[in-house]
């Protein structure tokens, strides 16, 4: 385990306030590497400061759930709750992580291997 970063400012708001006391997202579709994309045609007015920050981050381009949590310095569980709300409201859409049913693992492994070898 790596100790928490020293001096990281988590702000004044506790995680359970950010999520209105919820600890589970409205949908159970988020993996750490689920890719998230923002829709730029949705109004940001009325969003909480955390959701607005999340949208501002995601409007720059696609990111994984883990990256969003890391950039916003929010726990993954809290990030998933916010993401669920924003998918429900049409602000975000997701691309599933490894769609194993559609893309066989053998093919992914070969692509990973090719990509790694190309870096040597």
């Amino acid at each position: 385990m790596t100790p928490p970063a020293p001096g990281r400012d988590r702000g004044l708001v506790r995680p359970y306030v950010v999520t209105d006391g919820r600890s589970h997202p409205t949908r159970n579709t988020f993996d750490l590497v689920t890719l998230v994309m923002a829709h730029d045609d949705r109004p940001l007015g009325g969003l909480s400061p955390e959701k607005r920050a999340l949208m501002e981050l995601c409007l720059g381009g696609a990111l994984s759930v883990a990256e969003i949590a890391g950039h916003l310095m929010l726990p993954v569980s809290v990030t998933k709750v916010l993401l669920g709300d924003l998918v429900d409201s049409g602000h975000l859409s997701t691309r599933a992580p490894i769609p194993s049913a559609q893309l066989p693992e053998a093919q992914i492994l070969q692509e990973v291997l090719d990509g790694l070898r190309a870096r040597l």
Binding site: T19, L57, L63
Partner: protein, 210 residues
């Protein structure tokens, strides 16, 4: 990479090699865990390979171990924070690989479920001075059914042992790959990952022929 995008969002701190955001053409995200005991070099390994400045996520746990189920009213309980560092490698126009440096503590069960779900496999980093400390994490991987290879991270001044001795000390199966690496070195770390993925391939091929 979309370096213009990254500089537009400089507040999020891009690694010199690439932008913060994924290429628009990326369709698939794969995941490999880098695991091992405290101070074995997980974060260094992830940092050597990542195209982005490695990121950290944290999760709050009750001291008893379960992730806080009801986040309301936790002030009275002792909580602890567990962190994992991770990085990213874009391997092709359509494929991105995430490396998660995972803590080995068994009590963080939900975090482990999150991390292992959908992972291709794991690389166990080991230190010859503390081989016995790798057992916990290897047991956890076996519990979660996640295949792994072992990479002995080279530390200056650490004794070097014949491979057979290390295999025996770690009680490795004959097919489990054992390699050495220097987590500070990108090429060496890449080679260790390649050994893991080659092993995963042979397993997948064997399963298809059953």
């Amino acid at each position: 990479m979309d370096s213009a995008l990254a500089s537009d969002h400089g507040a999020y701190g891009a690694h010199p090699d690439g932008g913060v955001y994924l290429r628009r053409t990326v369709r698939t995200a794969a995941k490999i865990l880098i695991v091992g005991h405290f101070a074995v070099g997980k974060t260094t390994f992830v940092g050597s390979l990542s195209e982005i400045r490695p990121l950290r996520t944290e999760e709050t746990m009750t001291q008893a171990g379960a992730l806080v189920d009801d986040l309301a009213g936790i002030e009275g309980k002792t909580t602890t924070t567990v962190a994992m560092d991770f990085g990213r490698l874009t391997l092709s126009d359509s494929l991105v690989l995430y490396l998660f440096g995972a803590p080995g503590q068994q009590r963080f069960t939900r975090l482990w479920q999150d991390m292992t779900q959908g992972a291709l496999g794991a690389l166990v980093l080991a230190d010859t001075r503390r081989l016995e400390q790798s057992f916990d994490v290897m047991g956890l991987l076996e519990e979660h059914g996640l295949p792994y290879a072992v990479a002995v991270n080279h530390f200056d001044g650490a004794p070097s042992h014949p491979e057979e001795e290390i295999r025996e000390a770690l009680d490795l199966l004959p097919e489990t790959p054992l390699v050495t690496c220097d987590a500070r070195d990108r090429i060496s770390s890449t080679r260790a990952l390649i050994s893991l993925v080659e092993y995963l391939q042979t397993r997948t091929a064997a399963q298809e022929h059953v």
